[in-house]
Amino acid sequence: MATPRDNSTLTEMLPPFVVGIIILAAWEAACRFFAIPAYLFPAPSAIGQSLIADGPSLMRALWSTLKVALIALGLATLIGSIVAFLFVQNRLIERSFFPYAVIMQVTPIVAVAPLIIILVKNTQVALIICATIIAVFPIISNTTIGLRSLDSGHKNLFAINNASRLQSLIYLRIPSALPFFFAGLRVASGLSLIGAVVAEFVAGTGGRSAGLAYEILQAGFQLEIPRMFAALFLITMTGILMFSVMVVLSKVALGPWHDSEHEQEA
């Protein structure tokens, strides 16, 4: 059953890949033809060289940023799900707290980050808080909608079979909410990385725990533009990777092999 799909993914992936090659080639050619200095706009080859030469330090920075993003994503998932459950239990709770969740979401994190960094002594913790604040909202709103969006037929089915509140939650509400939750998780994965990078920019901390944002800042100060591009490239790749992992995760969880025995033990 999966074979025709696999073929189509290959044909789907080919055109953007070709476009990418063409753009890179044109970029390289233009940089060489117009002899643009690397400190203004580096050619892809220069970025590649920097990626190799500065590899160890960039990877260390990447790991530092990734760690913040992953911890923030984990916290956002946990907190977001719990908050969504509380919202669904009681309309008054939702009405009282939802506006504040929205306020947290719409206030630019760049504006709040300095405050958090001043208030929280440990920079690492401050970074994680910033990234969590921005990643938590899509999980809260999606999971809440998911837990609420019950099919009325299913509701009647459970009522006729005298299902308890807990049974309805475990066997009906949570599975119904899973697709919504995973959609929220995809968005949150990207936001957690953005949150981590933005917070690092504001904090500007160097030293052992310096992240990719610090590398970008430093490279900018020292006019090491290829290195800056290399760091940027790594951030983008990490974002794509995190997004892809979430897609795979949701496919695995919602896939047709999904065995009820696992839920039963829970």
């Binding site: 009522a159 006729i160 079979n161 066997y171």
Partner: protein, 284 residues
């Protein structure tokens, strides 16, 4: 008239079949049922109905006659504004809730998409606290009855509309209900599938010592399936007429072409026309 409901088959160990001659107590007694919604729409008014064990009773009527609402009330999913629903043959718990022992087949199959056919049928037993290992045979038995043994491990999205409805019927039967409530279960299916499911439903009805309360707006379906048709008029929903289909079970395709079937179809159509005449036009 009331006495000549066709005697049912002779199943092994029937729970509540009375000896011949004695008038069977109704399984279900509806007295003065009315339903008025908050916006003062009267959905049902003064419905009295006795449902006897072993009947295949169809509620036939135009849309808006409250037949689905009536079914939901019997199932305990909705409460009447006035009137009572008694289960003379059932025990009542401390809260005054009757032990209804019913299965409900909805208009939609309402299967859980994340569960296999087997687990969907298992659901009512699971909610009743039964372990899967203990009821595996029972589940396979009902799946065999609806002809889906081979699809036990399939997911609902892999099934056709008719097969999904079969799973829904199996799920309703798995608890061995005394009453099967069916709310226009085949309305969304094509004619051929519908005919097939009608025949299969009659076979199950004959084998299981069931009482069926069936809602439809198809005259032909109601005559083909039922031992009794209650025709309802709309706005407000009332019982317009109550007719017995005095044709023996088992019924098959031959019955569909018989004179008696055509005769009953004509009479049911006439009764429905009468009920429509009693119903004011739908307000826009």
């Amino acid at each position: 008239m009331k006495g000549n409901v066709v005697p049912m088959f002779d199943p092994p160990g029937p729970p509540d079949q009375k000896p011949e001659g004695a008038p069977a107590r109704p399984l279900l007694r509806l007295t003065g049922i009315s339903k008025t919604y908050a916006n003062n729409t009267v959905a049902l008014e003064g419905v009295d109905l006795d449902i006897r064990p072993g009947e295949f009773l169809t509620l036939l009527g135009p849309s808006g006659c409250g037949k689905s609402t009536l079914l939901k009330m019997i199932a305990g999913l909705a409460a009447p504004s006035t009137g009572t629903i008694d289960w003379p043959q059932s025990s009542y718990d401390a809260l005054g809730e009757p032990d209804r022992l019913l299965g409900f087949v909805f208009q939609e199959p309402t299967l859980l998409p994340w569960r296999t056919v087997f687990d969907n049928v298992y659901l009512p037993l699971k909610l009743a606290g039964q372990r899967k290992a203990a009821v595996r045979e029972r589940i396979m038995e009902v799946l065999a009855q609806v002809g889906l043994t081979r699809f036990a491990n399939a997911y609902p999205r892999e099934l056709s509309g008719g097969m999904k409805m079969r799973v829904s019927i199996a799920r309703a039967l798995v608890t061995n209900p005394r009453v099967l409530l069916m709310d226009e279960p085949f309305a969304a299916l094509d004619e051929i599938t519908r005919t097939k499911l009608n025949n299969d439903l009659l076979k199950l009805f004959a084998k299981q010592n069931l009482t069926v309360i069936f809602v439809t707006h198809s005259v032909y379906e109601s005559v083909y399936l039922s031992s009794r048709i209650v025709v309802m008029s709309a706005r407000p929903g009332r019982v317009s007429s109550d007719m017995t289909i005095d044709a023996p079970y088992p019924r098959d395709e031959e019955f569909r072409t018989s004179t008696i079937y055509n005769d009953y179809c004509r009479r049911a159509s006439e009764a429905l026309r009468q009920a429509m005449a009693e119903s004011p036009e739908e307000p826009e």
